[in-house]
Structures are given as C-alpha cells and as structure tokens.
C-alpha cells in the first residue's frame, strides 16, 4: 500500500518566496521587530489524557477487540439466561427425542439421551466462563501478592520466593494439573485448584519485575522522603503504575484457563458427565460424529468464538495498555 503511493504526491511544489533578499522591499513596516505574540510557538493542541482515558480511546478504535467484547457479553448472557429460556435441563433425558437435528423445539438438536444441546452448550458456557474468570482472578490475586511481596521486600526473602517459582515453573504445568485432577477428582473445583497451583507464576514474575524497576525510580524515593510508609508506597504508587501490563497478562490467562478446562474434559479427566462442559460435549460427540456432526459443531463453534474473542480482547488491551509490548 505504501509503494502504490505516487512519489510526487507527498512533495508539495516549492512556492516562489514572496520576498527575496535581492528585492527592493518598499514596505518598511516589515522590518519592525516581531512581537512575541506573533512568534509562532509550538502550541500543543491535543488535549492531554490520563493513562486510562488514552487506553480506552485506543481500545475503542480497535474493531477486533470491540467485537471480542461484544461476543463475550453475548456469551455471558447466554450462560446466565440460556438455560432459563428453554424448558429443558442440562441432564434431563428424553428418550422420545434422541439424536434430533436442530429444530424449533431443540434449537441445537438433542444428543443420544435426548438431552437438549442448546441448554447443554449454554451450561457449558457457564462452566467455561466461570473457570476462565475465576482462575484469572484468583491467579491475579496470588500473583500480585506473591510477586509484590517478593519484589518489595527483596533480599533473601526474594531469593527464596523466586527459587520456589523457578522450581514450580521447571515442571511442565500440564503434568501438575493432571496429577492434581487425579488426586482431587473430576470436577470444577479441582480444575480451579489445579490451575491456581501453577498459573500465578507468570503474573508473580511479572509483578516482581515491575516492582523492582519502579522501586528504583525517583517517584518511589520521593514518596519515601515525604514519609510515606512502605506499604502506602506499594499500594499508592507501585501497584497502579504496574497495573496495565498485569491486566494484559491476566486477560490472556482467561482463554488459557478455558482451554485447559475444555482440554481436560475432552480427554475425560475434567468435568465428568452428566455435567455439560464444552470439552465433554465435544468428547461425547466423537462416537457418532459421522452421523450427527451437529453434536460436535455447536460446542466446537462455541469454544472457538469464545477463544477468538478473548484473544482479540487481550491483543487490543495489550496494544492499548502496554505500548512497549506492541508487536
């Protein structure tokens, strides 16, 4: 697109100067001193925006991120009201209506037990979104506290805390998650616990790094000089200053958590039947995929658009909140 632009197009022709040094200039007033008011000084015409206003402006101009937000809002509405607008329950079996393709009674069709797929997908949205947001929220709290304490206290405490982080991160998180699932049994609570055992690592490292870099900057020192306590400084200066990048990291935790829930359920060690999660629905559809592809399609589409939307929101937030990370 750049190369198509004509080379000449960006060069305005040079206008002949109105006056040159060789000219006889008759108007003597031109040689009077220039008033300060007439001097062209740089006027900064753009209104100054706060960090958050600026970020919101940027985010609003990002069509993908905005579309993502709309999709997630719709998904939340589906999760809350979806099961209510249909007269079926997620585990209500109806052997008179098995393996139906989508129709007026059963919008997404039914499975081999005659359970309504729309309600089950909506119920799956509940599970996925709950897992995603809860895991992200819990991990943010753990990560911020752990990283914040480690970075702020520093010294040997920091060393020990970071060694622990190193050790945990050296073990593949999937193995930890699977072992915990085996130990705690297949339900949503254990998925959350499993995710919380490993997922705060990234946030903690990031917060610690941010705190360390900000701690040495002048405003933290200035706050100390005017007599603020360490905790006040941490709360009032350090946390807000490192909030942007942390939010970006946490946003990306949501789709990861949703992915893990679906993945574990899909391989049969996550949410167990008859509870419907997108992963279990996909797994259930495998047996008769050839005959009833709609059973696979609806959960697959639901999880895919949710993942797309969350990734777009994450990308948009990253561009808006953390310009240094912009790729």
């Amino acid at each position: 697109m750049k190369s198509n632009r004509k080379k000449e197009a960006i060069f305005q022709p040079v206008a002949a100067p109105i006056y040159t040094l060789e000219d006889e200039i008759t108007d003597d007033s031109l040689f009077e001193p220039l008033d300060d008011a007439e001097k062209q000084t740089d006027v900064i015409s753009r209104p100054s925006l706060t960090y958050w206003q600026n970020a919101w402006q940027k985010l609003r101009r990002d069509p993908l991120a905005m579309a993502g937000i709309v999709v997630i809002i719709l998904m939340i509405l589906l999760a809350i009201f979806g099961p209510l607008i249909q007269p079926y329950t997620y585990d209500g079996q109806d052997y008179s209506a098995i393996n139906q393709t989508p129709n007026a009674q059963h919008w997404f069709g039914t499975d081999k037990f005659g359970r309504d797929l729309f309600v089950r997908v909506a119920y799956g949205a509940r599970i996925s979104l709950t897992v995603g947001f809860a895991a992200a929220a819990i991990n943010m709290v753990i990560g911020v506290l752990y990283g914040g304490i480690s970075g702020y206290v520093g010294g040997s405490v920091d060393m020990v805390m970071m060694r622990i982080v190193d050790i945990i991160s050296a073990i593949p998180s999937l193995l930890i998650i699977i072992l915990v699932m085996v130990f705690l049994g297949a339900n949503m609570k254990s998925i959350l616990i499993a995710l919380c055992l490993t997922y705060w690592i990234g946030t903690a490292r990031q917060v610690r790094g941010q705190i360390l870099s900000i701690k040495n900057q002048d405003f933290a020192l200035a706050a100390k000089v005017i007599g603020e306590s360490d905790f006040q400084i941490l709360l009032r200066h350090l946390v807000p200053n490192s909030m942007g990048p942390i939010i970006v990291t946490v946003t990306f935790l949501i789709p990861q958590a949703i992915f893990y829930e679906a993945f574990l359920s899909f391989i049969g060690i996550g949410i167990s039947v008859p509870v419907a999660s997108w992963g279990t629905l996909a797994n259930d559809s495998l047996a008769n995929m050839n005959l009833y592809p709609h059973l696979m399609l609806f959960p697959a589409v639901a999880i895919s658009i949710t993942m797309f939307a969350l990734n777009f929101i994450g990308d948009g937030l990253r561009d808006a909140l953390d310009p240094r990370l912009k790729k």
Binding site: K2, K7, I10, P17, I18, L21, D28, E32, E38, K39
Partner: protein, 334 residues
C-alpha cells in the same frame, strides 16, 4: 576553486507518518570538496543526519527523497539504480554512526564484519580480507589485531568499537567518509582520541570527510568548513574561522553562546536558546528560527530568505542581510 566531490542540489526529504507528512529536509544545496573536512552542525531533529542518509539511500521505506541532483564524483546518484548505490556504499563512501554499542552485529565477530566490505567490493579472498582487516585494526590503534578479529563486539569497549567502525568504513579506502555524530555516545576522553584518529586518517589517506555533530567544539577542533542547519534548512555556511568569529545568523550566534568553553576563564554566562525547534509536520512559512530569534522582524515570519553571500565563501540565510534591516543589526549581540 576546489574540485567538488559531492554536490547536492535542492535536496528534499519527507517522511510518511501516521500523523502526516514530516518535511525533514526542505530543499538544501551544499557540496563537499575533495580533501576537505566539512562539519554539519545543528540541534537534534534539524535534518542533518537525514540529509546524509538520504544521499546514502539508507532511510527506511517511509522516506521519500527528491532532488535536482546528487552528484558524487561526476555521477548523479539520484538517478542510479540500487545496485549501483550498493557498489558505492561502503566502497567509495564509508559511513560511521552515532552509537557504536548498537551499530555492530552482536552475533558476528569483529573480523567477520570487518571483512564483509572487503570481500564484497574488493573481491578479496577470505585470507586476504583477514590480512587487510588486521592491518586496518592496527591502523586505528587497536593492538593485537589478530586476536581482536576473533572477538565479538561485546568484548570491545565503546571507544574500541567506534575504532572498529572507523576501520570498517575506511577499509575500502573511500573517497568520502560520512561520520554521523561519531563521538556523541562516547566518554569525553575517548571523544578526543577518536577525533584525533579521524584527523590523522584523513591526512594520511586524504579522504574527504563530512562530520555531523551538534557539538560546535568538535567542529572547531577538526573541521575546515561548516554548515549550520536548522528546521531542515541551511542557515549559514562558511569556513570555521568565519563562522566562529564573524557569525552572520542569529541562530549561529545562539549556538555559539550555548557552548561552554573550557580553558578560557570567561565571565560570561552560558545562554541557552529559548524555545524548541519548529514542528516539521507543519513548517512555518517564514524563517524556522523566527519564533526563537531575539531580533526577528515581521518579514521573518512571512518568507524564508535564501542563502546570501556575506563574505568569501561565507553565506547566511537571514533577513538582517537586507539593506533595510540595518537598524536591527545593532541589536544583535555577538
């Protein structure tokens, strides 16, 4: 008159940016004579580096260059293909950049990078190139060159890296050496060494040199002729003595006043120039310096004066040189 090695006519360079078009260089004429040491001075953002990069065609693809001729050694570079330019780059025109810490590729040995231009332009074999590279390192004052060739940039200090850069730029025996702020990123003591080295090499090989700097002290110590740039335009040009002792443009005077002079015990204070350089997205129609000039006149805001001879090989672009402006000249504090 001296023979001209490089003659640039009405050079304009624009950048396409998200916010609009930036007019970085707005129609300048200048030349470099054979065997001369030219200094180009001005504040950051005045277009001095962009001018040189335009000539070398090293600007990013957001830049557009227009001119009525860039004559180098009798050939108009403007009309040549990129292939021809490549045969000039690093061969007939060598270039040194500001930050020696980032200008060398961290993943290759100094030797590898030094040998590159020799192998490309002089078609030397690896062995010959290596020998020549070692000679060049020796020449720029790096001891134990054979061992140094095998080292990586991170094993060199800043001053040594700049020496290596100079060796690289000089290795093909160029006719013109362009040095873009070669000493700015270095310690003061190292600065003097590098300048000395450049001066010596220039005398030894009789390479014409164009030195870009914002430091008038550097210019005073090595250059013979100076171009003062501001807002993408040339404000004043002339021999070093003329510029330093008989400046004819208020901007030059402002620059000189803001240079701390070491050694002399002067009572006078340093006077910074108030204000900031103009926004080149929307350059003012008149003199770009008018807004910061203490002797600006009404006409200054209306039209930009052309360069006007004020002495032998000494020209300034200022309305004070108009016969009717004599009443203002008295207000100019030199």
């Amino acid at each position: 008159m001296n023979e001209r090695l490089l003659d640039v006519r009405s050079l304009r360079t624009n950048f396409l940016t998200g916010g609009g078009i930036v007019n970085a260089v707005r129609g300048i004429n200048f030349h470099v004579d054979k065997g001369e040491f030219l200094g180009v001075a001005g504040e950051s953002g005045c277009g001095k580096s962009v001018t040189m990069l335009s000539i070398m065609r090293l600007l990013p693809d957001t830049a557009r260059v227009q001119s009525q001729g860039i004559l180098f050694d009798g050939v108009d570079l403007q009309t040549q293909k990129m292939k021809y330019m490549r045969s000039i780059q690093g061969n007939k025109i060598g270039m040194i950049f500001q930050d020696p810490m980032t200008c060398l590729n961290p993943l290759y040995t100094i030797g590898n990078q030094l040998m590159e231009p020799l192998q490309i332009h002089k078609k030397l074999s690896r062995k010959e190139a290596r020998k020549r590279a070692a000679e060049m390192l020796d020449l720029v004052g790096i001891s134990n060159p054979e061992r140094r060739l095998r080292q990586y940039p991170h094993e060199f200090s800043g001053g040594m890296r700049q020496r290596a850069m100079i060796a690289m730029a000089m290795s093909c025996d160029p006719k013109l050496l362009i040095a873009d702020e070669p000493t700015t990123a270095l310690d003061v003591t190292i600065q003097a060494q590098i300048l000395d080295l450049m001066k010596n090499l220039k005398q030894k090989f009789d390479t014409s040199t164009a030195l870009i700097t914002h430091d008038l002290g550097v210019i005073a110590s090595v250059c013979t002729r100076v171009i003062i740039m501001y807002g993408g335009l040339i404000m004043e040009q002339g021999y070093v003595e003329d510029i330093f002792y008989r400046p004819a443009h208020p901007y030059t005077i402002g620059l000189l006043k803001s240079v701390p002079s070491a050694g002399e015990r002067t009572q006078e204070q340093l006077t910074p120039i108030p204000g900031t350089p103009p926004d080149l997205m929307n350059p003012p129609p008149g003199c770009p310096f008018a807004a910061r000039c203490s002797v600006a006149m009404k006409i200054c805001a209306l039209a930009q004066p052309e360069l006007h001879e004020v002495g032998d090989n000494h020209a300034a672009a200022c309305w004070l040189n108009h016969p009717k402006a004599s009443h203002m000249k008295g207000r100019l504090e030199v």
